[in-house]
């Protein structure tokens, strides 16, 4: 088992007039080398759950264990180090820096790791080759197509070879062909031994054969389907 959440609650703006309970005593276990989809309407709490699993922020209460490490009470610096080594993120809008070249965007997670520029280029080249974007290597990311942008985002999430890949609404801005292509790439990653968690309510994702499990979230609570 890779991830285990026990009684996890997340409350935003606690004890204020605009207090929101985003997650309410969530218990969840996710096995390694599986592909899980967190499904729910907008505001249901799925992105919050993804952020807690990704060590972006801590739960208000409860315990999070990833690969045997208790992460729920780690200081911010150690959460950052954990993110740096173990997690690859794919964002809803990809969050690619448009003024950087494709290669420079891909190597961003490697810069603080102290890897030599030659090795960073080599790793980036392998991923660009795998995702067929080598011809765009020195293009500013702002000048490439949506499909290429998606592959750049995936390459960036994998450049440091993380065991866990988190994707937040990755197909929200893609047409059905690109969404299919994305899921095909995710299936390949799963075959390569990665654990993948995707938040989505897109049928292309939820009905994909590579998905092992769908977790429905409503009003911050998990509903077993």
């Amino acid at each position: 088992m890779l991830i285990e959440l026990e009684e996890v609650t997340k409350i935003y703006n606690r004890n204020q007039i605009n207090e929101v309970v985003a997650l309410d005593t969530v218990n969840l276990q996710i096995d390694s080398n599986s592909m899980v989809c967190l499904r729910g309407a907008s505001g249901s709490g799925k992105s919050t759950l993804l952020s807690i699993i990704g060590c972006v922020f801590q739960p208000t209460s409860g315990r999070v264990t990833v690969a045997g490490k208790k992460l729920s009470r780690l200081p911010d610096r150690f959460m950052t180090l954990h993110r740096r080594r173990s997690i690859g993120f794919i964002f809803q809008t990809f969050n690619i820096l448009p003024n950087l070249t494709v290669r420079d965007n891909i190597i961003l997670p490697l810069i603080p790791l102290g890897i030599s520029p030659a090795r960073m280029r080599e790793r980036a080249w392998k991923l660009m080759d795998r995702f067929s974007i080598t011809h765009r290597e020195n293009f500013p990311a702002g000048q490439i197509s949506g499909g290429e942008l998606q592959r750049v985002a995936i390459a960036r999430a994998l450049i440091h070879n993380p065991p866990l890949v988190l994707a937040d609404e990755p197909t929200a801005h893609l047409d059905s062909r690109l969404s299919e292509e994305f899921m095909h790439l995710m299936a390949d990653l799963k075959s390569a031994g990665k654990t993948i968690i995707i938040t989505s309510h897109d049928p292309v994702v939820t009905e994909h054969q590579a998905i092992d499990r769908i977790i429905d979230i409503k009003d911050g609570r998990i509903h077993v389907s």
Partner: protein, 398 residues
């Protein structure tokens, strides 16, 4: 260790790329910042160079100068004072000197006219070493003068080597120009006309038994202050100036003017830093988004601060080097054209100075502290505040 070094070179590389991405903005900042530092450094270097040039020129001045003061103003001093002072042990020689100002109405320029008795001066036989060309006036032969370079230029414009000056009774006294002073001592000689003491006395109609001041030469340099005190005690109503006092006066005058101008320029520098602060603290949404993405991708706050530090340091450091280099060129090769009137004076004749700025480390540290450090603070501190934003903002689609 090697990984840490590689990390920092990677971050430096990222900073350089980041500067290049926003090159128009950064080049604009660099140009303005270099300009401000150039102005401040020019003043520092010019003041230093002027003070040193003045000190160099004053080395050949008499150790003590005696002037008579009446009603708070300088008046002619009786030559007979030399006999009164002969009782003071340690005085090598006392030489009367006549000097005054002559206003050339045609050119609208003030000349400083000085009459000396070179034969009685301890270094009188070496005065020709101060000349760029020609010889010193022959004391035995009247009607000769050596002039500073600006006076010579004025004469050349008139097309002659004869300097004609009016006496108080408006009769004309003419002098053949026999030499020109060296450019290295322009600060003292540029507007100077030196002639024999008799000619100067005749030109200004000063009686034979009077002089403008008395130059006292002392055998032992360490006794100058003591002898000056004895002279002051012996001759009440006189002003006794030592060479070191005159040197200090130069320093005070240049220092005051430089300080005044520096305050104005530091105000400009402060305004620039405040502007930089305002700009940096109001990070654009694009910059905030970049910081947020980097944090999600595993960059620590210190990594982001390092990027901002290098960006700020590269811009301000380059501006510092540019500004100081330009200031050196401005002072050394262009005679500090922009600021010379402020520091040297407002006379119609501006000395053409040949200044060699010296590298005083404390001056550069001062400029560094007033330019690079505030700029770094103005860029890093707001970035630190922005880097403290929650990393999750990148997850919400932004």
């Amino acid at each position: 260790m090697i990984g840490g070094l590689t990390k920092h070179t990677n971050i430096l590389d990222y900073s350089l790329a980041s500067l290049w991405r926003r090159r128009m903005k950064n080049i604009s900042v660099l140009v303005v910042f270099s300009g401000v530092i150039f102005l401040v450094a020019s003043f520092q270097m010019l003041t230093q160079a002027l003070t040193e040039t003045a000190a160099l020129a004053l080395r050949s001045a008499p150790e003590i100068t005696i002037q008579k003061i009446s009603a708070g103003r300088q008046v002619a001093v009786p030559v007979e004072y030399t006999e009164k002072l002969s009782v003071i042990f340690g005085i090598k020689d006392i030489v009367p000197r006549i000097w005054g100002y002559y206003f050339d109405e045609v050119q609208g320029a003030n000349y400083t006219v000085m009459g000396i008795d070179a034969r009685r001066m301890p270094l009188g036989d070496k005065l020709h070493l101060t000349l760029q060309e020609g010889t010193m006036p022959d004391s035995g032969t009247g009607g000769q003068a050596v002039v500073g370079r600006s006076v010579k230029k004025i004469l050349e414009q008139k097309g002659g080597r004869l300097l004609s000056l009016f006496r108080p009774d408006l009769s004309l006294a003419s002098f053949e120009v026999t030499g020109v002073f060296k450019p290295e001592i322009d600060i003292l000689t540029d507007d100077l006309v030196v002639m024999s003491i008799d000619d100067a006395r005749d030109l200004f109609s000063i009686p034979v038994n009077m002089a403008t001041d008395l130059c006292v030469y002392v055998a032992n340099q360490s006794e100058v202050t003591t002898i000056a005190k004895k002279i002051a005690a012996l001759l009440p109503g006189t002003r006794v100036l030592t060479r070191s006092q005159i040197s200090k006066t130069y320093q005070v005058v240049f220092g005051w003017r430089s300080g005044f101008a520096s305050v104005c320029l530091l105000a400009a520098l402060s305004a620039f830093v405040i502007l930089a602060w305002d700009k940096a603290s109001g990070l654009s949404p694009e910059e905030k988004r970049e910081i947020s993405i980097l944090k999600i991708l595993g960059w620590e706050t210190s990594d982001i601060l390092a990027v901002r530090f290098w960006e700020g340091f590269l811009v301000s450091g380059l501006a510092f080097v540019n500004g100081c280099t330009l200031a050196y060129i401005h002072v050394a090769f262009f005679e500090a054209t922009l600021f010379r009137p402020v520091l040297v004076g407002w006379s119609v004749i501006h000395p053409s100075l040949h200044l060699v700025p010296s590298f005083i480390v404390s001056n550069f540290i001062l400029i560094f502290c007033f330019s690079v450090l505030p700029y770094l603070a103005a860029t890093v501190i707001p970035a630190w505040r922005s880097a403290s934003v929650p990393a999750d903002s990148a997850l919400s689609g932004m």
